[in-house]
């Protein structure tokens, strides 16, 4: 096993040293009593921040979409290990995993061979899907850590009208901690199943009245599981992959706010050994692994609201690098690589000067200066693919929130996108919201979304072995209508129900060409899904909380066949109960009904997780224990065409013990 913390040990130690030197003085001032506030002038009162409100907050009742929010106390108590763990508790969302990446399914769509290209991942509002494969990485491969998130929002349904491509199925927005949320340094050590260990450091501070810095660092390593694969239990071997499931990652995130300006930097690197012999590689042979690296640098300005005008802009530079090392029988060493570099600008003007209107006008441009894909054998040296197709895209956005009446809000928007290789596309959206009183919101929403094929789907080929290119691919489009109702029950409970119908045209999907047996991405005829989601949550004054959802959906291809990896039913519950003396027990239960695989079907399952967290123990930090798949249920997710088996067995019971200490 490679040393996990090796390259990082010295740097982390250095960072820790510096953190300790900057002994945390001057925490953000909490003006808790009415008396403190009475001393302030109106000017000053308007500058006071509402505790724990986020930078991107919008009242949920006014939001022209169905939004689920996971708050900070839940993120801390439930023991979620990744964005994927947390997102899988959201209504209508389900996960699958191939021991390399986590794939998000939303409202019945989770296409085999799709790397989350139809879910948009935002961190503090910045787009994180890479420019080559459009991937939204949400597992350990994600550019950020779930520990750095203070609020996780998931918007179900298409939102291209505001965010453009990738926002077809939904948007996951991770609002990261600000320095003022920490005001000091917190160190976390984890140990868990698969001999995993993780070191995490978060630090931050408010500086002066209007500045703030935050830094998050993490390093993780795991030996992984010894796994048995019956499909490889044959004359060539006994089906056991031992020591071939290792994983390690290192991540860093830093942001500095100076008045209305933000500077953000994020780098991550994750390496995963693949035990399940994807793409017909040799089973049981070490060295088949992938490397995923993300980087983002961003400068953002979020201007003050003055005379009913507000300006926001970002400039950013992003990079993504993928290395796949694949060991084939006969000591053949194949390398598959992707490189993407992009830069962009994003400008938004918000106008509230007109009574009853909130107008948003936006402009975006992104230049993908490198979209390179390479595939070659090391020895004998043979090149199968060396393609680079840089591209650029521009878009314009206009949206108006018009309060027609005290109880009626109309939100209408349109986005116009022009990708250099495709005809311009307009994506409209409209939502009518009726709030007869503060406890009820009824919404009717219709929207259209699109996604142009990415460079991987258009140009990837591996020399006629598994996959071939399709430069003639067209963008896919989705139309969606949704009716939703949200009811507040008492002070701290709500119930929501939503009925939706999605229709996707020209869906970009991996299919096998019967002529040569090769896989190719092609546009398919119409796919429809419709369904109903019900969710409810309640918080009690004693600290108990309960959140649950039930979803039913039905998906059909044009020929009437149910989609692969599209469960009819999803049921979830997430809860927490204080045990006294500051201890909290929490848990989550998720059930997924049977799903089609590429050639068969996997049965449904239910899995339970529990977590126990301690209060701050005097001088000894905090402890927590997470148990995942408590019942050790054996279940499988549908696999893509990359695997011999059409179903991949998932992890059994897993443990994680965490110790954290605030310095």
């Amino acid at each position: 096993m490679r040393s996990v913390l090796g390259p990082w040990r010295s740097r982390t130690a250095c960072a820790l040293g510096l953190l300790c030197c900057s002994a945390s003085v001057g925490a953000g001032t909490l003006l808790a009593s009415a008396g403190d506030l009475a001393e302030l002038s109106l000017d000053d009162l308007l500058r006071v921040e509402v505790q724990s409100a986020s930078r991107y907050a919008q009242p949920l009742a006014d939001s022209p979409a169905s939004v689920s929010v996971i708050e900070r106390d839940e993120l801390r108590q439930q023991g979620y290990r990744s964005l994927a763990d947390a997102l899988s508790t959201v209504r209508g969302v389900y996960l699958s995993n191939d021991r390399n990446y986590s794939y998000l399914g939303v409202r019945g769509f989770n296409r085999p061979g799709d790397y989350n290209a139809r879910v948009l991942l935002l961190t503090d509002g910045a787009r994180r899907n890479d420019a080559l494969y459009d991937q939204a990485h949400v597992g350990h491969e994600a550019p950020i850590e779930i520990d750095w998130v203070k609020r996780l929002e998931f918007v179900s349904g298409p939102a291209s009208a505001v965010y453009g491509a990738n926002a077809l199925f939904g948007i996951a927005n991770a609002v990261l901690l600000d320095g003022g949320d920490i005001n000091g340094t917190q160190v976390t050590l984890d140990a868990g199943s698969g001999r995993s260990r993780r070191l995490g450091v978060v630090a931050g501070q408010r500086l002066g009245s209007d500045s703030d810095w935050f830094v998050g660092l993490a390093a993780y390593g795991a030996r992984g599981q010894d796994l048995y694969f019956p499909e490889f239990d044959n004359a060539a071997g006994n089906g056991w992959a031992r020591g071939l499931d290792g994983e390690e990652y290192q991540k860093a995130y830093g942001k500095l706010r100076l008045g209305n300006w933000w500077i953000t930097g994020n780098v991550s690197s994750r390496e995963k050994d693949l035990p399940n012999a994807p793409f017909s590689t040799a089973f049981g042979v070490p060295g088949t692994r992938t490397l995923d690296q993300h980087a983002l640098f961003e400068l953002a300005y979020d201007g003050p609201l003055a005379q009913g005008w507000q300006q926001q802009f970002r400039i950013f530079n992003g990079r993504y690098r993928y290395n796949g090392d694949y060991k084939y029988p006969g000591a053949l060493d194949n390398r598959d690589q992707g490189r993407a570099t992009w830069s962009g600008v994003d400008y938004r003007l918000i106008v509230t000067a007109l009574p009853q209107h909130k107008l948003l006008l936006g402009m975006e441009g992104q230049w993908n200066t490198e979209l390179r894909q390479v595939n070659f054998d090391v020895a004998p040296a043979v090149s199968y693919l060396d393609s680079n197709h840089p591209s650029h895209a521009f878009s314009l956005v206009a949206q108006d929130e018009w309060r027609l009446h005290a109880q009626w809000l109309l939100s209408a928007g349109v986005r116009y996108d022009k990708h250099q290789d495709f005809a311009a596309i307009a994506s409209p959206r409209a939502a009518l919201i009726y709030q007869p009183d503060s406890g009820v919101a009824l919404k009717a929403m219709a929207s259209s979304a699109y996604r142009p094929p990415n460079a991987y789907e258009r140009y990837y080929e591996d020399g006629g072995v598994i996959q071939k290119a399709n430069p003639a691919l067209l963008p896919e489009r989705m139309r969606s209508i949704e009716l939703a109702a949200d009811f507040r029950v008492g002070q701290a409970a709500r119930v929501g129900v939503s009925v939706f119908r999605n229709a996707m045209r020209n869906m970009i999907d991996q299919v096998q060409d019967p002529a040569d047996g090769l896989y190719i991405f092609s546009n398919r005829s119409e796919v429809r899904t419709h369904g109903v989601e019900v969710d409810a949550e309640k918080r009690w004054a004693g600290g108990q909380r309960l959140r649950g959802s039930l979803s039913w959906q039905r998906s059909r291809l044009a020929d009437g066949v149910e989609l692969v990896n599209s469960p009819s039913w999803l049921a979830k519950a997430v809860w927490a109960v204080p045990l006294g003396a500051g201890w909290t027990a929490s848990g989550d239960w998720q059930a997924v009904s049977a799903r089609n695989t590429l050639i068969g079907r996997v049965p449904g399952y239910g899995a339970l997780g529990l977590a126990l967290s301690s209060p701050r123990l005097a001088g000894l930090g905090e402890l927590s224990l997470g148990i995942y798949n408590l019942g050790n249920r054996r279940y499988a997710d549908p696999a893509s065409s990359a695997f011999v088996s059409d179903a991949l067995v998932q992890d059994g019971r897993q443990l994680r013990l965490r110790w954290s200490m605030s310095l």
């Binding site: 808790a32 009593s33 509402v50 009242p59 003022g180 500095l256």
Partner: protein, 179 residues
């Protein structure tokens, strides 16, 4: 990985610089109900009431209809001196609204607004609230949250109809003034 190693290095340097930067005292934060209550009370400094017989000249009377988070926070301000007069915070029935200088209507009492607005206009009561769409309902000053801070909108028409005046200083700080 030269590119990544280089960028990681630069980031580390930036982080290190950040960490040794001098730390000043922090940004102010407050719970939402307390902050809203303080702003509502403070607003009264900027309102001029016509001299009218029914109201006491010795007190500034701030009323609310039901007990909620903001009303509770308002009650804690009872007795505070504003313009040299003690603030009197008390719960009233809809029928007694005319005796108040100002009335706060919570999001749970939106149904009461049309009646309260009529009384407010007739008796010169400054009507305040904190629910979206309140200005259309006849509320004169409405609080909202905008990116983590409290902002306020004013409807000058209903203010004038009630025979009240709001000073230009407050109008300058408003997010939106409807005329």
């Amino acid at each position: 990985m030269p590119t990544f190693a280089f960028t990681t290095g630069r980031l580390m340097l930036a982080i290190a610089l950040l960490m040794v930067a001098p730390l000043a005292w922090g940004q102010r934060q407050a719970p939402e109900p307390e902050l809203k209550a303080a702003i509502l009370a403070n607003m009264l400094l900027f309102v001029d009431w016509p001299a009218q017989g029914t109201r006491s000249a010795q007190h500034l009377k701030l009323c609310y209809l039901d007990v909620g988070l903001v009303s509770v926070a308002l009650s804690r301000l009872d007795g505070t001196l504003l313009k040299g007069k003690p603030l009197q915070v008390l719960q009233v029935d809809a029928a007694q609204v005319g005796s108040c200088h100002a009335l706060y209507v919570s999001p749970d009492q939106l149904a009461e607004i049309p009646r309260a607005a009529a009384v407010a206009r007739a008796h010169g009561v400054f009507l305040m609230g904190d629910s979206p769409g309140n200005l259309q309902r006849g509320v004169m000053l409405n609080l909202e949250l905008d990116r983590g801070r409290v902002v306020f909108d004013i409807d000058l028409r209903s203010v004038r109809q009630a025979g009240l005046a709001v000073s230009s200083k407050a109008l300058r700080l408003a997010r939106q003034v409807q005329e």
